[in-house]
Symmetry: C2
Subunit: 383 residues, 2 copies
Amino acid sequence: MLLVFGAAKILGELAESLKMPNIVGEIIAGVLLGPSVLALVQPGQIRELAELGVLFLLFRVGLEVKASDLAKVGRTATLVAVLGVVVPLGMGYLIYRASGASNIESLFVGAAMVATSVGITAQVLAGMGLLNVLASRIILAAAVIDDILGLVVLAIVSSVAKGDVNVLELATTAAISIGFTVFILSFGSKTMMRILPKLDAMMKGVESQFSLALILLFALALFAHYAGVAAIIGAFLAGVALAETVNHRVHVLTQGVTELLVPFFLAGIGLALDVTVLRDPKVLALAGAITVAAVVSKLVGCGLGAWSLGFADAKRVGAGMVPRGEVGMVVAQIGATMGTISQQAYSVVVVMAVLTTVIAPVLLNWTFGSMASEPQESPLTIE
Amino acid sequence: MLLVFGAAKILGELAESLKMPNIVGEIIAGVLLGPSVLALVQPGQIRELAELGVLFLLFRVGLEVKASDLAKVGRTATLVAVLGVVVPLGMGYLIYRASGASNIESLFVGAAMVATSVGITAQVLAGMGLLNVLASRIILAAAVIDDILGLVVLAIVSSVAKGDVNVLELATTAAISIGFTVFILSFGSKTMMRILPKLDAMMKGVESQFSLALILLFALALFAHYAGVAAIIGAFLAGVALAETVNHRVHVLTQGVTELLVPFFLAGIGLALDVTVLRDPKVLALAGAITVAAVVSKLVGCGLGAWSLGFADAKRVGAGMVPRGEVGMVVAQIGATMGTISQQAYSVVVVMAVLTTVIAPVLLNWTFGSMASEPQESPLTIE
């Protein structure tokens, strides 16, 4: 634990002094400690902390976002999400098919390129103090929709692989996840405003509001998981529901947990990367092509979706949707467990997922840089 | 996770409304969820979080304590610790020997009754806002010494069990652990005052002071573990070393982490208890006798050690040293792995460890109650 936390922080500082986002350093710390380089840490050892870390990361981001603000950008965000799903799926499928892989394997690789991992973007934007600008809101809203679409795509691809496409089942999955999200976004905030103060008054323990917030966080993450969407979406929605109710102290306490756990999440992404697979020139070439496609397809797809905001914001939204992180890996893992994708395709997806996560902060620094010419103190970090 | 956290919080509230310390409720939540009642959670599932929880608990307590204050009560604390080791060891040995067990098994049971688990006491006193009264300081200092003595006792008992007592090895173990503790207490605080601001100024990341504090926490916990003392003593010492340097924000951020993780530690203690072993009347009787002896021996032993402070404070110190918690279980586990103690003796120790942890908060409420007639807001919880 000391090793992971210390190394992540030190390389984060190093990255910062090289004018790169410190997130990049923390991910590279994971790669270095991981099985393929120093072999000091196994991914399994920090998985629990890493998962908690990304939950708290999204929860903290949610706390800064009002549901009404997300609703306002709903139309643009939907367009961003849809184009951001279709373009990567298509590009990934075509490139992988061209490499000689089977139809279904190419579909899986395409599907693994769909889901944006909004944690990285959220961390960078929070660090720049830009969580509440228009482009950031669109990214956050689009990431939620994107996650639902990704779920539907995964469900479709999996059933195609199994050879039995059950439209009713697919529709149910989609309906439950959409229903859950819309319900929380519509009523969560108001319900919390009514219920939380009463519960808080009833409780005698110290920090009761924080305890209540954590219970809601765990509950919604669990529900989201059972509804089929990612647990982090539940955590984000819990944050949004509480954004207008909880006091400042809950924000700071959450910040404490996040600071402790996020390095494990970031290093955990790096840990997943086995750099030795890149020795095979064919894997290297494919991984390179897929990574470039993953970056370009989101930039173009999501950028087109946000075209109405002008070029600068379209670029920002595109950059924000680039990181795939752990979600792509999960899709690839499902494919591997079903036996529909090869070890090679799995490695390619993992490389793509890690590299997009490393590239995204750089792109974000570049596209959002003009809005925050100096790294600002985030509102999150002012006591 | 939701289950453990939610259940702990709910039963904690319930306990509070029954005028019992909420810690008791959180431990009972663990018993109820554990393998022997509802079997919803296995101890292994939350072990990592529980261990982190108690580390942060002691770290937070350390942050409130000045090294110089601990040194001032050194003489009394040493007396408290020594008598608090000798009396339980003797009583435990005699009772278990009287039940017909072997010499060495009785010694092990006695050794398992030695080590105070200061986490529970610290949590209760912090909740009452009484961490800085004289009795609390003596308890904290005595708990550190007690832990070192407990280590020595365990080392002696283990070597007796192995049949080879190496005095040099024992002396080395003792010297290393004492040296580590004295070194940190003497120089830690001054070194941190000199180094930390410089490092902090060098770092560009947000919350860099908190990151540095966490790195020190993990480092000292690890060193303490290798030096032979409990990792929580290292965490406590890290807190003490930083107490006079770090800013208020680090306190609040630590509080956030602690609030999240401590319920897992408390429920984790409860999870270890297999209530079905108590169906055997012989185990029940022995467990009862050993538990009573565990409570009485610390009250008398440590109370005598603190006699110079007057009856009221002697009672408080005695009560504060009652909980055994996880340390006793670890000793019993070592004995079980060596084959020197039976499954029955192991169960008896676990029951004793859990029950003393449940009894201690009640005793503390009663003995310290006059100092805090109203439950005060702890200085820890004021923003």
